[in-house]
Amino acid sequence: MDATTAMYVAQGIHGLAYGMVLFLVASGLTLIFGMMGILNVAHTAFFMLSAYFCYQVVAWTGSFWLALLLAPIATAIVGILVERFLLRRIHAFGLLFELTLTIGVMFVIMEAVKVFWGTENLPLPVPSLLEGLVSIGGMDYPIYRLFIIGLSLVILGFLAFILYKTRMGMVVRAAVSDADMVNALGINVPRLFMFVFGVGTWLAGLAGVAIAPILTVFPGLADQMGMDAFIVVIVGGFGSLGGALMVAIISGLLSSYGVQFVSQLAPVLMFIFMAVVLAIKPTGFFGEREG
């Protein structure tokens, strides 16, 4: 294979890996929005928090694998506490209160992180098992990026299984279209909300751990991911997992190939894409619900 093709493939893998991380973040965001109608502004702050948790677990135990397991769970616990003791109490007051609250939660997490870990970039080594390149069919692939893609695919399969093959998933899908009606059929919707909020923050947490060895850990992680994740949810259609997956991958590829072909335009490519899609279909690709 010639050098140009090799470069395209490598860019593609980079883009795909970023797209899949973006999907993990966006899937949690879109589930929470779809069901609870809450645009959880703090979502990417949870993503960043988990990267710090990961850094800390690695600092204590030296094990990335343990961090991959524990950091997202710890993040989900924080998310569940926020839902149970803050969001649930103001749910009755409506959207604006919920939005304001999540903005507040975002600031608290951002500042707390600086207090505990400072503002520097904290490097996190790629686990030794996933270091370096692997050669397949005469091409070199960065192992860690392949791992991220694989991990995300596993999570995607797991989510799809839960959503489409279990009763719990059916109830979640129903609640995405009409949570009040689900409540009026005897299902404890507040508890379901708490659970989904937990799963959503867990997904953000997983993405935070996955990205940490690539981007290092720093407070700005949330901003970096934030805009892209919101665009993915809007363009994919609020509440749609399939839409989030598709747009996340497109977005990842746009950003990596964009740098290569139209480097001056690269930063705004995603916005152009969003504007075009929304002009044609204001509810996003798979959106059924009005934002």
């Binding site: 129903a174 995405v176 279209s177 409540n183 059929l185 299902i187 507040p190 059924e288």
Partner: protein
Amino acid sequence: MLLEVKDLNTYYGYSHVLQGMSLTVDHGECVALLGRNGMGKSTTLKSIMGLAKPRSGTVLYKGEDVAGYPPYKVVRAGIGYVPEERRIFATLSVLENLAMGMKGGKIDKGNPDAWTVERVFEHFPPLKERQGSKGALLSGGEQQMLAIGRSLMGNPELLLVDEPTEGLAPLLVSEVRDMLEDIKKTGVAILLVEHNLRVAMSLAQRLYIMKKAEVAFAGTVKELDARPDVREKYLEV
């Protein structure tokens, strides 16, 4: 009495939509709630269900005050709800919509009279043929049958039904009416909000007519029959 609603006051923001609303439904009885658009019929059902929070008043169901309960607890106490607009889950199949109505996700094995999917299909044959279809693809009549069947899956002793014949073709109106009659015969009490006076009077033993936010007339079907003045004042356009 199975249900005793006393002196309910419900607000939407500053508008006082129920002002001392009261009604009763006995075991196995069908009671109709009538009145012109915007009088507060749906809000009465929603206040019973906990979908609208009454600011004061009581909703005694089998002696337990369920006013202010979240909807899922009202349902678990034994009340089923068939909303205006049906609110079928569009992305779920007919079978899944029915499963959504099953409390705890299972058929109650200890209860020989428990509703099953097969029994719902016996009452609503058109649903059987469409069992794999997504809710969004059903006709208005099928959606109405599904909405009723879905709430029956929770084995309610009392069913709150909001305008089941709204927007249906005349043939379907009488079909849905007959289905409700059958369900009544199984012993389920029904509180029925209905614009079609003939349907209401043929199903119900007693009726309440609402004027703005409160009851204007309460009585049996016979009593209403004898009062064309009441019908003219509160029902006819």
